[in-house]
């Protein structure tokens, strides 16, 4: 059965304990200079001082630490190992040049409370990136303060609320409903809730688009504050009626928020501001290639119309008439600050570097390649997997396990088997409205060869699901650990290491994975 697996063979997988289990009393891995000032009696009373000698914290050497992390690193899949087709996550190549830029001493060593005149270069970076993002989105008001997509969402929705409260006064208290499609990211309703809105769900049509009739019906109630829409939506389809959708919401007195998670399908091709969208967040850690880092940091700029600009978080970074940059706190309608300092600044440096190295034509080319790659996968898999929506996908495409599940093989099994073929699985069971969803987003960072390998792997799994379903059901076979019992882990959560005597269960190490 290994014949179809072309991308990987098995390899040594070193074991590595928790650092606490490696610790040996007296070992150190650091050296500080000797204290070079006269030691004085501190004015801190004894009862305020630590008296546990940090018991339990690791005592290891530098080489212990290096081996510890390098060994653990080999257990991870990463973009640099290959295609990472997580739908809605836009796992594209992270340029090393951008990493180098972020480490330039003039930025890395700059304190966030440095006075404006001594941080002009840093403020210029923020200002320039804002200008470029305004051009890309067609929305002129921008704050880079939010730290991630959900944070940008929250900011955008709070801006809508502040705008409505100012426009409608006391009457705004009746306008507290946020409309969200049933295909939306979970962060959307959670962010709406944080801003004091209740959520009503809009149905999708059989074609996978927003149901206009249902939207009209919900808008007729007069309580609608706005709509949160992802476009292209989470099925990878462009909401063709976007102008009409915005029109219906605006007519009802609401505003339109667009979740920009899928902007990788639009950069240089179409702009949310031209579609009638009022406010959007971007994910610099998706569309603008800043590394995802195993779960962050992100950066979630909030972009809005001129009309909403007065409500953006403070401080605003503005250019004075003498071409110097300054912080503007004088924004009486601002929703306030959403994060200390300026946000995840290091991500802004990387995103600006991405924008400048691609150039305007390169940004559009990246979009074209991302959509082309998704189309290619769509065409390559359509004979073996159920494609629930006929429409042409943009940068990502959704399939289901409908055909394979007849043999008892489900999406989770297909995803796990894909690991044996050397690929990171796609996003699974999202969007929630598609049973057994497999959402595949190749991004522009994959060439035809690897796309072909991926398609071949998926087709091979489809064959296995028919001929040898057990093989798929028990996957993965080549990893250092098998499927973990997540239900048991949640029932009796063990969320930290404790010294041995307190540990109830023995802690066996996995043996080196066997080739199958």
């Amino acid at each position: 059965m290994t014949t179809a697996i072309t991308k990987v063979t098995s390899h040594i997988s070193p074991n590595e304990q928790l650092i606490f289990e490696r610790s040996q009393t007296g070992r150190i891995g650091y050296r500080l200079p000797a204290l070079d000032v006269d030691e004085v009696e501190l004015n801190i009373p004894d009862e305020f001082r630590r008296d546990d000698d940090l018991e339990g914290m690791p005592e290891v050497s530098e080489v212990d630490v290096i081996r510890h992390f390098v060994r653990m690193s080999t257990w991870n899949y990463s973009i640099d190992l290959g295609m990472y087709p997580l739908g809605s996550c836009t796992m594209k190549y992270n340029s090393r040049l951008n990493e180098r830029v972020a480490r330039i001493a003039g930025f890395a060593n700059l304190h966030p409370l440095t006075e404006e005149q001594d941080a002009q270069g840093a403020l210029e970076v923020i200002y320039d990136l804002q200008q470029h993002l305004a051009e890309i989105t067609g929305l002129p008001g921008i704050s880079l303060q939010p730290a991630a997509g959900a944070h940008g969402e929250m900011t955008g929705i709070m801006i809508i609320r502040a705008f409505l409260d100012q426009r409608d006064g006391a009457a705004a208290s009746h306008r507290r409903t946020m409309l969200i499609p049933d295909s939306a990211h979970g962060t959307n309703p959670a962010s709406a809730h944080l801003s004091g809105f209740s959520v009503k769900t809009i149905r999708s049509t059989a074609e996978g688009l927003t149901d206009l009739d249902h939207l009209r019906e919900l808008c007729a109630h007069g309580e609608v504050a706005g709509l949160m829409l992802t476009n292209p939506n989470t099925l990878g389809l462009f909401e063709t009626n976007i102008q009409q959708i915005c029109g219906i919401v605006h007519e009802a007195g609401g505003l339109v928020y667009m979740d920009g998670a899928n902007m990788n399908a639009l950069v240089g091709v179409a702009r949310p501001g031209d579609m009638g969208v009022d406010v959007i967040h971007l994910n610099l850690h998706k569309t603008f290639s800043t590394p995802h880092g195993g779960g962050g940091p992100g950066c979630g700029p909030c972009c809005c119309t001129k009309e909403l600009e007065p409500f953006l978080p403070v401080p605003r970074i503005v250019k004075s008439s003498d071409a110097s940059f300054r912080l503007d706190y004088d924004q009486p309608h601002s929703i306030g600050r959403v994060k200390a300092f300026f946000g995840n600044y290091g991500m802004m440096l990387r995103a600006l570097a991405y924008t400048l190295t691609h150039g305007n034509d390169g940004l559009r080319e990246a979009t074209e390649a991302a959509v082309l790659n998704a189309r290619y996968i769509s065409a390559g898999l359509v004979e073996d997997y159920d494609k629930p929506f006929a429409g042409s996908p943009m940068h990502e495409v959704v399939f289901t396990d409908k055909r394979q599940s007849r043999k008892g093989v489900h999406t989770l099994d297909i995803a796990k088997r894909l690991i044996d073929y050397g690929f990171h699985p796609m996003t699974i069971y999202f969007p929630l409205i598609v049973q057994g969803a497999m959402l595949i987003e190749p991004t522009e960072s994959v060439g035809r060869q690897e796309l072909d390998q991926f398609i071949a792997a998926m087709r091979s799994i489809a064959t296995e699901a028919v001929e040898d379903p057990e093989l798929v059901l028990n996957a993965p076979h080549n990893t250092r650990i098998g499927r973990l019992d997540e239900a048991a882990a949640a029932r009796k959560p063990v969320l930290r290491w404790k010294p041995k005597e307190e540990t109830a269960t023995p802690l066996p190490e996995p043996s080196t994975a066997q080739a199958v």
């Binding site: 991870n76 990463s78 003039g106 890395a108 779960g295 200390a340 290091g346 305007n360 930290r496």
Partner: protein
């Protein structure tokens, strides 16, 4: 490839976008730069940040500490920094085990029982702590000391403005620089949480035990915020003092200043509140053969499952920065953290003593401090510090008038293990001469 999918041109890829919505012109952003040009451009912009080159005594939520070389080396490994959130545990054990160690280290330092996989930063972690206290107590008032970082309080205000939580600020004690007695006395039966920062914005260490007792007497939670996490190597842990939720900014642990981010928020609490924690948690799990591994767990608290009923909207957190903190803490280890913390405290005490002896300078607060303290100068602090920078290339601290208009002559000085005696003497001499 276009041919393979039956298309004649790249434009046809976008046929589902109505023609009138398609951008008919090139983006008005700059043309592509080469690597040489790009680096030159950024080096030039970096050079316009005079603040990055000076000997610095700035703190107030962002600190200059020594970063062992191996931290950035580990962070730069592809396997860590180009990985996604560990949704597939079989091929994400490196990230997952690291987070498990991070959670353990945060518990050890704060003296708490459970910690999450990180928040965006200290300020947002504090806001989430206040929201959590409301969920736990079902009460709607939060009382905070005004000696907390002003920007943290601003963020809390933004987060709670639509959550039905009333935030009340209690003035600090002008004599000691610590929270006043009024803070403890203002806790009542409607109070969800008492919020205090220690060391506080002025660098003063608070009596956490007394505040915990006051909060608990009325059924409220004590939330402790820490901006200078290095203090945990020297000061009694908030957990040992009775805190219910501890949040901290983890930047001091191996993270460069980088103009304010990305940093990492630490969030820890008691085991009984584990299911109310915002954000991701990693837990131990076993496969069929009994091999130990780690998984994201208790996901039913989170937005992708609970949607609007989730404990928070957070999804992406600060994974890579949590890794930096983990590498830092393991490299410095049990001894190094205490060593560095002690050096901070000693050098700050020495510096404060030297400055207090200068003509025209005094220390307005009497409370105990860790590595930051307020100095009252002979004139306007903004002007004084600007001259110090311009003429002596020393960044002497942060003028408090930037946050509080009634303190024109006061400035906040921070000293860490990276400030040599020579730098300290240069600061003292410069203050004496300007």
């Amino acid at each position: 490839m276009l041919e393979a999918i039956g298309l004649g041109s790249a434009d046809q890829l976008f046929d589902s976008i109505p023609q009138n919505l398609r951008l008919q012109r090139p983006l008005n952003t700059p043309a592509a730069l080469s690597e040489i040009e790009l680096l030159d451009r950024f080096e030039q912009m970096g050079a316009r940040n005079a603040g990055a080159r000076r000997i610095s005594f700035k703190g107030a939520g962002a600190y200059s500490h020594y970063i062992p070389t191996i931290v950035d080396h580990i962070l730069s490994r592809s396997e860590f920094f180009t990985a996604y959130t560990p949704y597939q545990p079989e091929i994400s054990q490196g990230t997952l085990q690291t987070i498990f160690e991070f959670q353990t280290l945060v518990c050890q330092l704060t003296g708490m029982e459970v910690a999450n996989a990180s928040m965006y930063d200290g300020s947002t972690a504090l806001a989430e702590a206040v929201l959590m206290a409301e969920r736990v107590t079902r009460r709607s008032k939060a009382i905070a000391s005004s000696a907390a970082h002003p920007q943290y309080l601003e963020v809390v205000r933004t987060y709670v403005q639509h959550a039905g939580i009333h935030l009340e600020l209690v003035p600090f004690d002008e004599q000691t620089g610590q929270s006043s007695r009024a803070l403890a006395e203002s806790v009542d039966d409607e109070t969800a949480a008492l919020v205090v920062q220690s060391p506080n914005f002025f660098g003063c260490v608070e009596d956490l035990q007394a505040l915990a007792d006051a909060a608990h007497a009325k059924g409220a939670l004590l939330i402790v915020a820490i901006t200078e996490a290095m203090s945990l190597g020297f000061l009694k842990s908030p957990g040992a003092c009775g805190a219910d939720i501890v949040i901290a900014e983890g930047q001091s642990f191996g993270v460069p200043l980088s103009f304010g981010g990305p940093y990492v928020g630490l969030f820890a609490t008691r085991e009984k509140y584990a299911r109310q924690i915002p954000g991701r948690l990693v837990g131990e799990a076993y496969d069929k053969k009994g091999h130990r591994g780690f998984v994201l767990t208790l996901a039913t608290r989170e937005q992708h499952i609970r949607r609007e009923k989730a404990t928070s909207n957070i999804c992406t957190n600060e994974g890579l920065i949590a890794l930096a903190a983990t590498v830092y803490l393991e490299t410095m280890g049990r001894r190094g953290i205490q060593d560095a913390a002690k050096q901070c405290a000693q050098k700050a005490a020495y510096t404060a003593r030297r400055i207090a002896r200068l003509n025209g300078y005094s220390l307005p607060f009497t409370g105990p401090f860790f590595n930051e303290f307020v100095v009252r100068g002979p004139g306007n602090a903004v002007d004084l510090l600007a001259r110090l920078g311009r003429e002596k290339e020393i960044d002497g601290g942060i003028a408090l008038s930037r946050f509080m208009s009634d303190r024109p002559n006061d400035f906040l000085v921070c000293v860490t293990e990276t400030n040599s005696r020579q730098q300290i003497e240069a600061l003292v001499d410069a203050l004496a001469s300007v």
